[in-house]
């Protein structure tokens, strides 16, 4: 019998080609962060949320942009629609100008 169809979640970063991942293939946030950091050459910048100016955020099914890591893991994988890596300058820019930077991510979700 064939396994259920998987859905893949896009991970995007400005200036890089987007990637797709199956979030259900990870056990927890630590595995997710490590894999994404590795994919985008950002080892050491995403693994510990408070220790870097790079931020991992996601768009949920209500089109809100949230910081990855606050929800219990099982709830996160149910509501995540796409993931975005924000550079320190993007975070600063978004704080000043609102969330226009994420429009393409939200429209694609």
């Amino acid at each position: 019998m064939k396994p259920p169809v998987r859905t893949y979640t896009k991970v995007q970063k400005q200036g890089s080609v987007g990637r797709s991942i199956d979030v259900t293939g990870f056990r927890d946030y630590h595995e997710l962060r490590s894999a994404i950091a590795c994919m985008f050459g950002l080892q050491g910048k995403l693994e510990h949320p408070g220790s870097s100016d790079w931020k991992l955020v996601y768009v949920d099914y209500e089109n809100d942009v949230l910081l990855v890591g606050d929800d219990p893991w099982e709830e996160f994988i149910n509501c995540v629609r796409c993931i975005r890596i924000l550079s320190p300058s993007e975070v600063q820019q978004m704080s000043e100008n609102g969330m226009h930077v994420l429009n393409d991510c939200i429209q694609a979700a």
Binding site: M1, K2, P3, P4, D22, T24, G25, R27, D28, Y29, H30, P49, G50, K55, V57, D64, V65, L66, L67, G69, D70, D71, P72, W73, E75, L86, V91, M94, S95, M99
Partner: protein, 138 residues
């Protein structure tokens, strides 16, 4: 990687204990000791937005004992010290409002804590002057 049972349904691993990889809960647990038994049974994760910040956060309001614990956590979460309760005891730059079960936006702090935990659906941190404008009838 996911594995599948004989019937084709994806197998999931059950684990016991509090949600993993939540550094905030871990810090609080280290500071305050084990939480009361009632809070380990109930979770109430709600979104929190702060005007002017680029992304939302989520908090488990049921993990806190009272409004002051919650406000302290929000200041910690948004890297500020300007959020406070509009209880008349201090001038704060930011106030907290919440969306209740009826879909109304209400000022945080008026109702008993347990009632707030059960009715809060979402929170927003806004400038206190705007909150005063919403809460006054003038």
């Amino acid at each position: 990687m996911a594995s599948y049972g004989e019937d084709g349904v994806e197998l999931t691993e059950l684990t016991l204990g509090p949600p993993g990889a939540n550094s905030r809960r871990a810090r609080r647990a280290r500071k305050n000791g084990p939480p009361p038994s009632s809070s380990t049974m109930m979770q109430a994760f709600v979104k929190v937005s702060m005007d002017g910040t680029p992304y939302l956060r989520k908090v488990d309001v049921a993990a806190y004992g009272d409004y002051h614990d919650l406000v302290e956590a929000l200041n910690d979460m948004f890297y500020c010290s300007s959020i406070g309760l509009m209880d008349g005891y201090g001038e704060w730059e930011h106030a907290v409002v919440y969306e209740d079960g009826d879909g109304d936006w209400m000022l945080v702090g008026d109702v008993p804590w347990e009632m707030f935990v059960s009715s809060c659906k979402r929170m927003r941190v806004m400038r206190a002057c705007e909150a005063r404008g919403l809460s006054s009838n003038a």
